[in-house]
């Protein structure tokens, strides 16, 4: 249950048995061709995979450097990569005979994905969500309810994703006998980070095939944004063995990593335990976990998936950060030149990729994981851009 020194199971004893059961069921499922078949069937016929690989010709010409390719996870059912994992885990829950699902959510994307698969499988679904996030993301809350899920406000701590996760785990401790906890990112105690990776690695597998078909060779660089890191690990995994492919994970630099307002765990965090796993995280000198910040609700999580910590420690993946402003600029640029409004999360990967593209030749190419669509962020953007306009007027 480790990735190098990272990972593990740092949970109350009560959860050890349920975790062992998940692990055992997962191992068996992964050996069972029927399980994989059903997983792939649903990805194709329910979520619409394979997702497209889009060559951003306009943008490539505009930047004048490396060719830019986008892996279009935004085209999945519910609008992001989250569904890949939700489908995998709900199939496992079904296999384990569970009929009740728990999930945590920040901005609501994983909550919507979980509520979606729970509806599809006729299961009861409880989504824990910070009280503050419930207010900020009212539309996603409504979507979850429409899908039949119960949204439970997390009122402890900072009332955001971190605390929603705490509450979900606490609820699970109490109800582990008949509930399956469907974690949304490559975090949490073993076997979750591995399981989430295995249900997300289809992103990179598909992208590699599609890229080879389009270009006849591997990309020079693969870039993905990292909050907990599920889209990134899913995108990177199949490329890890291709040593000449440069892999870059992009964290949320918020207002800048020199300030307190960021979510750059790799750059500014230290090793510690969060939500059951040993990894890099943001904490104070006493080991109290601190609240991260990012304009992107999907990236402001204080920890990072343990496999990323490992990939960083062995130097296979480079982790960098991008600020709020840089990500918004990238979002606007992609919208205007390619007609694709990306999620603000994904726009972090784009911002880094655009920067890198300019330093490369036209023979080189960059593959970016466009993890989700930006429709969910339009509210945030309206407020932000209106505020910017006003600030500008004041000058």
């Amino acid at each position: 249950g480790r990735f190098g020194e990272f990972g593990g199971k740092y949970v109350p004893e009560t959860l050890m048995k349920p975790l062992e059961e998940v692990e055992k069921a997962l191992d068996e499922a992964m050996q069972d061709p029927a399980f994989k078949e059903e997983y792939l069937f649903l990805l194709k016929n329910y979520s619409g995979r394979p997702t497209a690989l889009t060559y951003a010709d306009n943008l490539t010409n505009k930047l004048g450097g490396a060719k830019i390719y986008l892996k279009r996870e935004d085209l999945n059912h519910t609008g992001a990569h989250k569904i890949n994992n939700a489908i995998g885990q709900i199939l496992l829950a079904k296999r384990m005979g569970k009929k009740k699902i728990i999930a945590e959510t920040g901005a609501g994307q994983h909550g919507v994905a979980t509520a979606t698969v729970a509806a599809k499988f006729g299961m009861e679904c409880k989504v824990f969500m910070g009280e503050e996030d419930i207010e900020r993301q009212a539309l996603n809350v409504f979507r979850m309810k429409l899908l039949g899920a119960e949204v439970i406000p997390a009122t402890s701590g900072t009332k955001t994703l971190k605390d929603a996760t705490n509450e979900a785990i606490r609820y699970w401790v109490q109800h582990c006998e008949d509930h399956f906890y469907l974690i949304g990112s490559a975090i949490g105690p073993h076997p979750y980070p591995k399981m989430v990776r295995d249900f997300q690695k289809i992103i990179g597998e598909e992208a590699k095939q599609q890229f080879l078909q389009a270009e006849g060779k591997l990309p020079n660089t693969v870039i993905a944004c990292v909050g907990g890191g599920s889209n990134a690990i899913g995108m990177f995994y199949d490329f890890i063995k291709d040593e000449r492919v440069e892999l870059i994970g992009v964290e949320a630099g918020g207002k800048g990593v020199h300030t307190q307002l960021h979510a750059a765990k790799m750059e500014k965090g230290t090793k510690g335990v969060i939500h059951g796993t040993l990894t890099y995280l943001l904490q104070d000198e006493n080991g109290q976990i601190t609240e991260p910040y990012s304009i992107s609700a999907g990236l402001d999580y204080p920890g990072i998936g343990p496999e990323h910590s490992h990939l960083s420690s062995i130097g296979r993946v480079r982790y960098e950060s991008v600020t709020d402003d840089e990500s918004i600029e990238a979002l606007q640029l992609l919208s205007k030149t390619e007609g694709i409004i990306p999620a603000i999360e994904s726009a972090h990967a784009l911002a880094k990729a655009f920067e890198v593209a300019k330093t490369k030749t036209k023979d080189e190419s960059i593959l970016i994981c466009l993890s989700g669509r930006g429709d969910k962020d339009v509210h945030t953007l309206v407020n932000l851009l209106e505020r910017k306009e006003k600030e500008y007027e004041h000058i």
Binding site: M16, G157, N166, Q283
Partner: protein
Amino acid sequence: MSTFKQRLPKHDTLFIPFITAGDPHEDVTIELALALQKEGASVLELGVPYSDPLADGPIIQAASSRALAQGMSISKAIKLVPKMRKKGVEIPIILFTYFNPVLQLGLESFFALVQENEIDGVLIPDLPYEESTEIRTLAEQNEVAYISMVAPTSKERIEKISKDATGFLYCVSSLGVTGIRETLPEDLDSFLKEVKASTSIPVAVGFGISTSHQVEVLKEYTDGIVIGSAIVHKVEELQSVLLNKETRSEGIASFQAYIASIVSPIQKCEV
């Protein structure tokens, strides 16, 4: 031999109260410790407040928040213990802390601090058996008891956990986090019997115990009873009285009276 055993009073049934260090203030914590000893506490669980207390229910979470707001930290909590000793607390003191604060101190430094400050045991609720090899070795080297937990879900895990347990073995009464429960699981007795059969060290039960009736019933099946949330809840109730120096002794008296009422079924005298 660990200081835990040396300091453990020979009570028929161990009463193991939990309080959060620094809630509502470190001075109060010391007085609460003394008061608990007066009311027959056999062991004190001193909780280190934590930002993300996964194993705790709302009552202890709230206490953690209050203590953190007061500036409490793991090092400060540890350094409270000599002050307690100075005031007369003689029973074993167990530091209850989540793993991350320990990790930030570094395991070696942590145990050095623990030993130096006369702490008798350590309980880390989010460090299950499989992850605790290193820490158990260090605990042994430092002659500090490492308190292990078993839960109703532990099943075949009970055996290996028991085998390496020191101090006392902490049985989680039911699935869930700490808190006050109206009723305890019906099959708790058989679970406790099974655990008791697996070990020679005292077996204590905790999570959800809050009334003298529960204590009365449980003492038949266990060597000790841990009471946390009920006590912390009382502290919260008395918060302002306890914070005010002029009314503090009055508050401590109310606190003691409450403790006495819960633990009444347990004889105070040593066997």
